[in-house]
Symmetry: C2
Subunit: 349 residues, 2 copies
């Protein structure tokens, strides 16, 4: 923690939220035996497209293939033995579900996972692979919540929310401690945003350690222009939007009462991106960096390559030379896109 | 070079070939300012599928996305100034063409690249991107060779063959110096084989530094059962086969008079794999390790997961605990397989 030890005065606001820098440092110690310290990768080709130096924090190489393991592991390890013995429960069709199942298995406690009926099979398989105890329910928020509640009542399991929860936010923030130790010269960090758990944790760490750093949230507009973080930041209050229709399946949630105050105060800019920009960014990551990144995970690069970000870059005094981008996860169902069959057809030339 | 300095006695044969351990060490020094030292990655999931510890040497992260840069850079840097000024020439539709164009640009000399008419457009684009001077020709060996010869006669450029050439073999061998320094406990290295340049270089280094190490060549049978290395090793002489019809487009060539003696003496085993096994290995690398690997590059993992390799593993005294696998390149045309369009259709759930 080179940077942390340098003793730079912290941003005044960072100790008033649901996650503090000190708690995030404790989370880092807690999960250190179990989480991977993910590498930072670079690409000269992408630097030249972006007009700055890009530093990609590869959470695609995190356990379960996504940053969500950090928050889930920290949440599970933060339980007392009395709480832990009854297990944990969540409702999710995404990486949080697999992460919680994996973290619970490591502690040796049951993980009850409520999965809505519209979840892709590959995600269900992942949860099963980590030994999660699956209950299927209808694909509505009501059904998910009531199913989880009834499991809680029956088992005494602890509900672990995917983002609006202190220990989850603290776990996600640990990646920023790593990133700033790996690349102390960062001027900005670009983070895909949904519920805001990752962005909150990163913002608390980064502003706490390096107050001048910029935090940029990257958000899909979706097919239905449902960019709620940008709208909320503009309005200064949480603005309700329709559920986003986006290929970025990890970014279809909403900010909560614990994450919004941090996003409101510490996020400097929100950059929205189109579906086409997301796929173009994925393609660059696959082709130029040889990295498999899911649509949600590519949203940060899509933002950095957008005209709005380039204008923002130029507008900063002294410019932003070094930009961190979180590649948040790599769990994309390429079989559903027919890749493996199509390769065997297209591959003979 | 921890391992190299340990002073283990070399295999008696390694100094009689077109590339020696000493020459490969010189090549490593020569290309060091330009080539990437590629990382070694691991995966617990794949270890458990393989029943041993796998160490993946990620040449997908090499410049131009493939190991071929090592040989091309060494070949270009080995030219005298008098030779170099006239440029270099080769005929190739694959990674060697892009690698030679890139290496020539670094030295500031022209690269004349003869590309057959059936080459995929993405490969032509790559050569163009590195400033290669392209001549198209008919898709026959005769046309390729005669076109290259006429360019040589016109320009005085030096022909740089893709594998059957000492400086190329030496360049490829440098990856084994790195790998054995990164993972000194390796018991075996599994290498995708085609013309044998990479396998030769690796074998000379590995047997020279660690005589007991096993070198296993991995080869596609193709749709037409054209596994010439296996057939040649069995016969003890080069056996001519039909050109392999395989998705592994980097492995459609033939051994030469410089590589065959090394393959004959130093390769311990050849494991052949089917087209389906290659795609299954690619899928594991994409899904479990988040790495984009081209079909040719996945042939090593396909071999390791095959029943024949597992039987070989069990047959070794004391077992083979630590196996290196070369992920030789990551240049696969996912656009040709329709991936980016299909994602935008399949991605809304």
């Amino acid at each position: 923690m080179t940077v942390a030890e340098a003793g730079v005065p912290a941003h005044p606001a960072v100790n008033v939220y649901a996650a503090t820098l000190e708690e995030i440092r404790e989370a880092a110690n807690r999960i250190e035996p179990f989480a991977h310290k993910t590498p930072v990768m670079t690409s000269k080709t992408l630097d030249s497209l972006a007009d700055c130096y890009l530093h990609f924090k590869c959470e695609i190489f995190q356990r379960v293939g996504a940053f969500k393991f950090r928050g889930a592991m920290n949440s599970v390890l933060s339980l007392s033995d009395e709480q832990a013995v009854h297990g944990v429960v969540t409702h999710s069709s995404g990486n949080h579900a697999a992460a919680l199942a994996c973290a619970a298995r490591i502690r040796g406690i049951p993980a009850y996972i409520v999965i809505p009926s519209d979840a892709p099979q590959c995600k269900v398989d992942a949860v099963e692979g980590y030994g999660g105890l699956i209950t299927r329910c209808e694909a509505t928020v009501d059904a998910r919540e009531s199913t989880a509640t009834s499991i809680q009542q029956r088992t005494g399991a602890k509900l672990i929310p995917p983002y609006n929860y202190g220990p989850t936010i603290c776990g996600q923030g640990t990646m920023a401690l790593e990133l700033l130790a790996q690349v102390p010269q960062l001027d900005a960090i670009v983070v895909p945003i949904c519920g805001g758990g990752m962005t909150s944790g990163i913002a608390v760490v980064a502003k706490g350690i390096k107050p001048g750093i910029k935090i940029i949230a990257a958000e899909p507009t979706g097919l239905n222009n449902a960019a709620d973080v940008a709208a909320s930041k503009d309005a200064g209050r949480i603005v309700e939007c329709a559920r986003p229709v986006t290929i970025a399946d990890g970014l279809r949630g909403r900010m909560g009462d614990l994450t919004w105050p941090i996003i409101k105060d510490l996020v400097d800019e929100v950059v929205t991106v189109s579906e086409q920009e997301i796929v173009a960014a994925m393609r660059l990551l696959f082709e130029r960096m040889k990295l498999v990144v899911e649509p949600s995970g590519a949203v940060g690069l899509a933002a950095v390559l957008s005209p709005k970000f380039k204008a923002y870059l130029r507008g900063q005094e002294g410019g932003l030379q070094n930009v961190g981008i979180i590649l948040s996860g790599g769990n994309v169902d390429l079989a559903a896109a027919g890749l493996w069959e199509n390769l065997l057809v297209a591959g003979y030339k």
